[in-house]
Amino acid sequence: MADFVMPSLGADMEAGTLVAWHKNAGQAVRRGDIIAEVETDKGIIDIEVFTSGILEQILVPVGEKVPVGTLLARIREEGQTAEEKVAAPAISVDREPPKAPAALPAVAAEKIAGPAASSTSGDVTRLPMSPSARRLARELGVDPHTVPGTGPGSAITREDIQRAAAASTAKTPPSVSQPSVPKPQPPSADQASRMRAAIAAAMARSKREIPHYYLQTTIDFHAAETWLAEENLKRPMTERLLYGVLLLKAVALALQEVPDLNAVWEGDRVQVKEAVHLGVAISVRGGGLIAPALHNATEKNIDQLMREFRDLVRRARSGGLRSSELTDPTITVTSLGEQGVEAVYGIIYPPQVALVGFGKIVTRPWSVNNAIVPRSVITATLSADHRVSDGHRGGLFLSAVDRLLQEPDKL
């Protein structure tokens, strides 16, 4: 049985409307007969049939518009001459032509390669740096010479400047200890030294200007831990929660009770901030630390916070942070529990006025209903600017964090 389909008559013909059948079902047709007329954009065109036989069945009535390739009728092949049998093309569904590979070949040996490394330009002090990165460095007050370049030919890019700008305002607590695993690709010597120089400058400035006071409390983490375990069982892996996100939410909500810790210096005046943008201290692979902001932490539920937290970590480590995320945290939270540290006495990131630290979760004897039981606990610390708040306010804040963590389901 041969198919008679709406023929393709040209690249720009998509469909045709049947205006007439010249044969009816049951009639004989011969190869080359005009058996139908089709209306196209260019006018009515006679359609010939390429097989001889009996017109078995008409499937598309006159008046219908159908796309090219639509089955119009079936023809039972009969009475074909010997020639027509031979001539019937063994048309396989042809293999598609190969798709264009990603990169078409350059016609010739690559002559557009840039000039030999810029070293030939003899201008040792010359920094390969994109014009927009150069302008951003001027705006953020970053000295490009202290910034490790990650662009082509270690050129300095906008991200490098942003990272340096953030790092220069970031604090890394002196006791940062990284696991002593040999790193196959340590950041290139001058990159690490530049970042270290930027961090050193920020540390010194913070210590010089901010009179820190430090508070510490130990928090029963049992309720949070058990709630988290049950919650994760109910969830698919992709929506699994980390305990860090509970800490972040607790800090955000506690700040609503003690808003004066959620403030930044603007010139010589302290400005308490409405929105809580939590700067989350994230270690960058290969050394260095950066604290981009989780915006409006109070307005977001645990799931949203978890998603944004994961995204922030991913982008921080792949250099995809937006400059706004680096420049507007209102307080910073650092958690070094996983590095085996129980308590963190961090240094505040100017222009912020407080820093919250969390240590590792440990099991301690704990009195519950007058009985001593083994209990998971975590140590929370607060470093705060004594010019802005005093121990009393800090204490209220830490106890609020403690209280909030006892009812994890409400976070």
Binding site: V181, P182, A229, N232, M237, R240, L242, G244, S283, R310
Partner: protein, 83 residues
């Protein structure tokens, strides 16, 4: 899935979250967190990568079984119906 195949897939997942890690140097029976700079966020991404690669669900209580490279391979081969 043969153990060798599983091992190479686990190593691939590991290097995707710790790109600076050299697969050849990872000791099979030493705790991964001690060998590599991996925090809980990295470990969650590692578990998710295994979940995607092997199509197996990994509850948090099984995390200790994934502490070492050999542990991961055994865990994944055992729970893979086709192995």
């Amino acid at each position: 899935m043969s153990p060798d195949e599983a091992r190479s897939k686990v190593l691939a997942a590991l290097t995707s979250i710790a790109p600076e890690a050299d697969p050849a140097q990872i000791k099979p029976r030493v705790n991964l967190r001690d060998q590599l700079d991996i925090d809980s966020m990295d470990f969650l991404n590692f578990a998710l990568a295994l979940h995607k690669e092997f199509g197996v669900d990994i509850p948090e209580r099984d995390y200790p079984k994934l502490a070492t490279l050999d542990g991961c391979v055994d865990y994944l081969c055992r729970s893979d119906p086709a192995s």
